[in-house]
């Protein structure tokens, strides 16, 4: 393999990992607060369709992205109302949100099928992008890729060294205790859920406005599920989400690149690569039972109702 090929593979890896990072970071924050939302697929699709529609209508991609984020947040509010305020079962509510969002996005998007737009273009960062190899791999992407790094830094920093991070974590570990010392479990959980929704919506916008600027039904193609698995893979650590998403992205790219290199194997077997790789790496990284258990937010999935 020559250097140009490797450069391109790594470049594509980052792009492929980006939607996964966005969804998974949002879901991680949500789960840290003790709420398991399985509705990402629905939120991503709503973000994708409304972002696309807003861009077509206003002719402004920035507004489109804003619409994506709002769409994701709106969907997550629906989830939050049921799962937080009405203490409904989180797993079932999340799955229902996915069904609902898939249907609603198809319904809304019917008139946008076959419409083309000029998508979000790459921003090559001056100077940095001139560095050989590194510049091409890291600094010639579209702005949302950089945004995903900023958001990663933000999430990492919040949980590493802020009160907010501590608050979210305590709410996810022991809501009763958190409430007793004066934290509002409700507010924190709503906030975390909405952050998850915003991130999923943004990921949707990334798909329909930057990655492949088009709308067609079900275009997220199961990325919400992969992101869910990545949060677990990462044991709720932001830096490991990055690792997991890029690993998965790289393996998906290899499925295609290996064929191009004349690697003769059944493409259907090659397509298993990212999934097998994820399991294998998890096994290598996480065979410490106690550690794995400790990282799981203790109150994950459990509804909470404060003083009544």
């Amino acid at each position: 393999m020559d250097i140009e090929l490797i450069t391109n593979i790594l470049f594509a890896t980052i792009r492929t990992g980006t939607p996964l990072i966005l969804i998974a970071l949002g879901e991680m924050v949500c789960e840290k607060s003790g709420v398991l939302n399985l509705g990402q697929e629905g939120m991503v699709l709503m973000g994708a369709v409304l972002g696309f529609a807003a861009s077509v209508i206003t002719g402004n991609l920035g507004l489109g992205l804003v619409a994506s984020v709002i769409a994701g947040m709106f969907m997550s509010l629906l989830f939050g109302f049921l799962a937080i305020s009405l203490v409904a079962n989180q797993v079932a509510t999340g799955l229902a949100l996915t069904i609902f969002g898939t249907g609603l996005s198809a319904f809304i998007g019917a008139s946008y099928v076959g419409v083309g737009i000029e998508g979000i273009q790459a921003w090559t960062i001056p100077l940095l992008s001139d560095i050989p190899v590194i510049g091409k791999i890291f600094f010639s992407h579209d702005p949302l890729v950089y945004l995903s790094w900023v958001l990663f830094g933000l999430v990492f920093w919040v949980f590493k060294s802020t009160r907010l991070g501590l608050t979210i974590r305590s709410v996810g570990e022991n809501p009763e205790a958190a409430n007793a010392i004066g934290m509002s479990v409700f507010k924190v959980r709503y906030g975390a859920v909405m952050f998850g929704g915003a991130m999923a919506g943004l990921a949707g916008g990334y798909l329909s406005l930057a990655y492949t600027p088009l709308w067609s039904e079900g275009m997220s193609a199961g990325r919400g599920w992969i992101a869910l698995a990545l949060v677990v893979f990462a044991s709720w650590k932001a830096e490991r989400i990055m690792l997991g998403a890029y690993l998965f992205g790289a393996a998906s790219i290899m499925h295609l690149v290996l064929q191009g290199l004349g690697f003769e194997a059944s493409p259907n077997l090659l397509a298993m690569l990212p999934y097998v790789a994820t399991i294998l790496v998890l096994v290598v990284l996480a065979n410490d039972a106690i550690k794995a258990k400790l990282s799981t937010p203790l109150a994950l999935g459990q509804p909470y109702r404060p003083q009544l």
Partner: protein, 368 residues
Amino acid sequence: MIFKLEKRPSDSKAMAYLSPVLAVLLTLISGAIVFASLGHDPLGSLYVFFLQPLEDLYGWTELGIKVAPLLLCAMGLMLCFKAQVWNIGAEGQFILGGLGGGFLALQLGDVESYWVLPAVLLFGSLCGLAWAALAAWLKTRFSANEILTTIMLNYIALYFLYYGVHGPLKDPDGFNFPESALFSDFAMLPVIFEDYRLTISILFALFAVAVIWTFMSRAMLGFQINVLGQDPSAASFAGFKDKKLVWLVLLICGALAGLAGVSEVTGPVGQLNPYIAPGYGYAAIIIVFLGRMHPGGIVIASMLLALTYMGGEMVQMDLTLPKSITGLFQGMLLFYLLACDLLISYRIVRDRPVQTKSSSNQQETAQA
């Protein structure tokens, strides 16, 4: 707020039965509004969605065709979830069951014996079991979280199926299309009513419900699963083997989902093709929670969900509404069902000026 929620002293028995009724009523009202706003007669449309699929025996048998696999998967998942084992992998176990059973059925294509079918069913179940065993092994040996492994194993199973039907299991006389030959009659499940497609797989499903129901309520194992589910540390104090239980529930679930898969291919499908699994393994997850982790509830929930799929087909045919409406409708129904369950443990009261309360003893946490 004028109204607020108040925790009931104990769960309301009446509400346990009334809340689904209320949810269905709310769905009907909202559904009527949706249909009316789309320019359709609301009552007639609701009739088409909810009743027309079941107005004859044929409709009921078709419902059974969908309920059987959903129930088999859901019963296995219920055991897993009760034991806090978050198995998302019924879909993959279903696929492996179908693929394995189908493989044997094709190998025994020329054998004219009544032993073919039992062998095929057994082998399919074992393949599903083996797929679940992988997740159990990864969990107990490497502490690999089962949510992740089972999701990944679902995809791997799907590509295995693709590999099989595009490759070694392809019908040699099938013009290279990706599907197997039709199975011989000896590998096919018998149907219950002549001319209808419903096979005895529905009996397997009902049998599984009966056995697991009895088991959960009477046997020591049911007790163990419940204890472990509620408090893992208590369970290990009580001397239950944590790991054994993980193995047990996953293996049972795998075998049941595998049986569902093999029953699908030796029943209504009759061959292997890339599309043998229409997502029953995922739908069953919702069903378990909708059915409140109770076998009786799960039976009802699986019938309800199956009905919405058939109703969705009906409104497409009769009202020329797009399929996306089905998703909206299902989502709405599920939301209402989940929301109304709130009334089992809580009641809505008028918000009066608060009497002073000490905060600690008023804190209450609802259990899932």
